[in-house]
């Protein structure tokens, strides 16, 4: 393996790889933000909604969580064009990842709220707080601390799942890398490089998450 040869090719390919990396970031950010927003609503509805709402959302989350994310992406890609919704591969992919994220975040939020001991709500009631006040002052702060580590994990899962969009033709980092490989035949070096970039990105996200956790942790 010739290091300088690889570095030369890497430099030559820098624009397309950077563009692919940028695409990866856009896909991941869009899916995480939209998916988490939707997921919070789902989680709240699962915790406080009526029986019918909870049933429908249970089916929604169970279905999405039981389906491999790859199948979700392919389904969104193929099905939507047939039913007349004209989405680009990129949009279909982000939609699939958003739905995927929402089901996970919904479950995380539901679980975190359920984990708060009943005594907390009772104590809040006993000092005369309404449900809204109880939720904002007592439940939400505790739930957020509980949610944080698992949510960071979901975010890294989305970053990793963004690679699957390469299969439906979205030129994110992995597909960009494959295109470079097809030109240079340096598959070992470039797959390793791509793997390293993803590892670094997720590692940084993990570290950022842990820093936030430390900041908001309650002294014991």
């Amino acid at each position: 393996m010739d290091l300088s040869f690889f570095l030369d090719n890497l430099w030559n390919a820098r624009m397309s790889l950077l563009s692919g990396f940028g695409k990866t970031l856009v896909i991941s950010l869009a899916s995480v933000i939209l998916g988490s927003g939707l997921g919070v609503l789902v989680g709240l509805a699962l915790s406080y909604g009526n029986l019918a709402t909870r049933f429908v959302l249970r089916v929604y989350t169970d279905f999405l969580r039981g389906t491999p994310v790859f199948v979700l992406i392919l389904a969104c890609f193929y099905v939507l064009s047939v039913v007349g919704v004209d989405l680009s591969a990129f949009q279909a992919g982000v939609l699939a990842l958003t739905l995927f994220c929402s089901s996970h975040v919904g479950e995380i939020v539901r679980g975190a709220l359920a984990a708060i001991p009943k005594g907390q709500t009772e104590a809040a009631k006993s000092i005369g707080l309404t449900f809204g006040q109880t939720f904002a002052s007592v439940l939400l702060p505790q739930a957020l601390r509980q949610i944080l580590p698992t949510w960071v994990n979901t975010a890294t899962e989305i970053v990793k799942a963004s690679t699957l969009l390469s299969i439906i033709g979205v030129v994110e980092l992995l597909l960009a890398t494959q295109q470079v490989i097809s030109r240079t035949y340096l598959s070992l070096e470039f797959y390793f490089f791509a793997g390293f970039v993803y590892w670094l990105l997720n590692f940084l996200i993990e570290q950022a998450g842990r820093a936030v956790e430390r900041r908001v942790s309650i002294p014991q």
Binding site: S126, G128, T130, Q142
Partner: protein, 254 residues
């Protein structure tokens, strides 16, 4: 004088299980009433009905003359709106067996929360009231500590301050020492004794018989959802009228 608490013919069931089968109880200002009885006798459920943590199907509970939780509207029993119930809950204060302090807030903030949100006091006024009551229970030194940094006895004292700072008409104590290590029990009982001596109206569920005998103005013995015997502590502990009570006392430490 309107009694602080008037319970009339209270009935409560959990599904098919009848837990309270006709309770009548009156508590006047300054009274310290202890509820004793075996597990399952309904004493904790009774306490929790007073601040509507448990619903009840029949009967009425009045605090300072105001019917709690339900209202008679043209002969029909209707549940009051949530906002009213929240306000009514603030008329009583409760200390729980599991303390239930808010773990993400300091001791001071725990006590201030109800003052700010329910009583709508300003931050400075709330802080002053909170500090006064934390001092009263001996926890002023630790006001900026989090519950996780406090011992069980310390947490319970903060919890009592949180309830009392709301200036309730009636304090409800739900087995406040049952979760504590033995060496921490006395510090909490001392606080309750102190508040009772100051004239606080109290309804106490407890297993600590010696404490109940020392601090109460009236003791109520419950059995299977009804009041089996009630009277002053000397009578209840010294000369029990019913065999059941005598049997219960024999099995408890007194």
């Amino acid at each position: 004088m309107t009694p602080v608490l008037k319970i009339t013919d209270l009935h409560k069931s959990f599904g098919d299980l009848k837990v309270l089968t006709g309770i009548d109880l009156t508590v006047h200002k300054g009274d310290v009433v202890s509820l004793i009885g075996a597990s399952g006798s309904g004493k904790t459920t009774l306490l929790r009905c007073v601040n509507l943590l448990e619903e009840f199907e029949r009967g009425s509970i009045e605090i300072a003359g105001e019917a709690i939780g339900y209202r008679d509207e043209g002969g029909r029993r209707r549940r009051r709106p949530e906002r009213q119930i929240a306000r009514q809950r603030a008329m009583t204060g409760m200390a729980f067996q599991q303390f239930n302090l808010f773990p993400h807030m300091t001791a001071l903030k725990n006590v201030m929360l109800g003052l700010v949100k329910t009583k709508k006091l300003g931050q400075d006024e709330a802080r002053a009231v909170a500090e006064k009551w934390l001092d009263r229970v001996g926890m002023i030194e630790r006001k900026d500590h989090y519950p996780g940094q406090l011992s069980g006895g310390q947490q319970q004292r903060v919890a009592i301050a949180r309830a009392i700072a709301m200036n309730p008409q009636l304090m409800l104590f739900d087995e406040v020492t049952s979760s504590l290590d033995p060496e921490l029990v006395q510090e909490v009982l001392a606080v309750v004794r102190d508040l009772a001596a100051d004239g606080m109206t109290m309804l106490i569920v407890t297993h600590e018989m010696r404490f109940a005998r020392d601090v109460s103005t009236k003791v109520v013995f419950m059995h299977q959802g009804r009041i089996a015997e009630e009277g002053p502590p000397e009578q209840i502990f010294g000369a029990p009228k019913s065999e059941r009570l005598a049997g219960f006392l024999a099995n408890s430490e007194i």
